[in-house]
């Protein structure tokens, strides 16, 4: 495994930049993709957001001051890009964000890149009912099994607040599944 500090140094060096960037993408593409996909739902949108995320990483690597870990920094960019994308999409369609997310969840049954069963589709609809921050916390913990400490760095929220947020999210989803 390539050390993040070495990777960042290579990314900032013009001579080694391209190769380092290839390595960076190889390391993080899947994790970032699934993180983004759970927010924007469709593969096409996730692909757009993932590419934009990596391009922003490439262009702004000289601004990365290494106060946080590289993957935390990239996750923050990916999260921000995903939320901005959803907001812009809702604005273009002149609907609010919740309505757009319900619409996306409804369309999952017709999505060729969704192989989940009925209960999994219901779970996606239940997640949409959560506030934005709880959605992120639930997805990162439930599906990705991410450590609270890592989540804390990415979402810039205390571990305690994240634990509480996840607990509330689970309760709400369970309630939603029961009633539906």
């Amino acid at each position: 495994m390539i050390d993040d500090k070495l990777l960042v140094a290579q990314l900032k060096n013009v001579k080694t930049q391209e190769l380092a960037f290839r390595n960076l993408m190889s390391l993080y593409k899947k994790r970032l993709y699934w993180h983004i996909r759970k927010i924007v739902i469709s593969h096409e949108d996730a692909d757009d957001v993932l590419q934009n995320t990596f391009i922003k990483v490439f262009k702004n690597i000289h601004k990365f001051n290494e106060d946080s870990q590289l993957y935390s920094w990239m996750y923050r960019i990916a999260t921000n890009e995903s939320i901005t994308f959803i907001n812009n999409k809702a604005k273009k369609q002149q609907v609010n964000i919740n309505d757009l997310q319900y619409q996306l969840a409804d369309e999952l049954s017709n999505d060729s890149y969704f192989s989940g069963d009925e209960i999994q589709q219901k779970l996606q609809k239940a997640i949409i009912t959560l506030p934005r921050k709880q959605q992120l916390v639930f997805n990162m913990k439930y599906f990705d099994d991410m450590k609270y400490s890592d989540m804390s760095e990415i979402l810039e929220t205390s571990v305690g607040a994240l634990k509480a947020s996840y607990f509330h999210a689970v309760k709400k989803i369970e309630q939603h599944l029961k009633s539906n």
């Binding site: 993408m25 899947k30 699934w34 759970k38 993932l50 590419q51 391009i55 999952l108 989940g116 634990k163």
Partner: protein, 204 residues
């Protein structure tokens, strides 16, 4: 929240597979790096090339509507004009005007006119006099005899004094002896009326 706790707090959720159900196209992740790198290269190339090297005058786009509308109005006005000119009229106008300017106009001298007009005017005057004072319907200058002219002069129908007549016929000498006529007393007395005689006596 540990697995055991999730089972207690959310049994339905716990029963659902943690697989999200989302998939990707085949080999999506294998080609992702190439796609992103080519996108970055394209963006870099585009930023290096100034896509639009053409420029417009200042405020061009602020005034273009007014210019177009003014031209449309002018065109509309031109189409409404009823007067028409022949084909190529405006192409040949300059040549036509210049050629006309170069052509000299014939100037008739007033002196020349008077040279011919004065004798004609005199003849016409005489002809008019003779026409008005004779019964002939058609009178020509040639048809007048010299005697006729003398008669008109004798009867005072032509205003001419002896002085003018004498100067006109300068080549004729008047002999004074022709006036030495023999007159009898009775002829003199007949010539002189009583009144004239009385006047004569008193003045002499």
């Amino acid at each position: 929240m540990k697995k055991q706790k999730l089972h207690k707090v959310a049994p339905i959720l716990n029963s659902i597979s943690k697989k999200s159900g989302f998939n990707t196209p085949n080999e999506y992740f294998e080609t992702l790096e190439i796609d992103i790198l080519s996108k970055i290269k394209t963006e870099e190339l585009n930023s290096e090339i100034d896509k639009n090297s053409f420029r417009t005058p200042d405020a061009y786009f602020d005034t273009i509507e007014d210019i177009v509308i003014a031209k449309l109005k002018a065109k509309s006005f031109h189409n409404k004009e009823n007067t028409k000119v022949s084909d190529n009229y405006f192409d040949t106008l300059e040549d036509t005007v210049i050629s006309k300017l170069k052509t000299p106009k014939r100037v008739i001298s007033l002196k020349t006119v008077s040279k011919y007009l004065v004798p004609i005017a005199i003849a016409a005057s005489l002809l008019l006099i003779f026409t008005l004072n004779t019964n002939k319907k058609t009178v020509t200058f040639e048809s007048l005899a010299t005697t006729d002219l003398e008669l008109f002069i004798d009867y005072g129908m032509v205003d001419i004094d002896t002085q003018t007549l004498a100067s006109t016929f300068s080549d004729i000498e008047i002999k004074t002896e022709e006036f030495d006529l023999f007159l009898t007393d009775s002829e003199v007395l007949n010539y002189l009326t009583d009144e004239d005689l009385e006047t004569f006596i008193y003045t002499n």
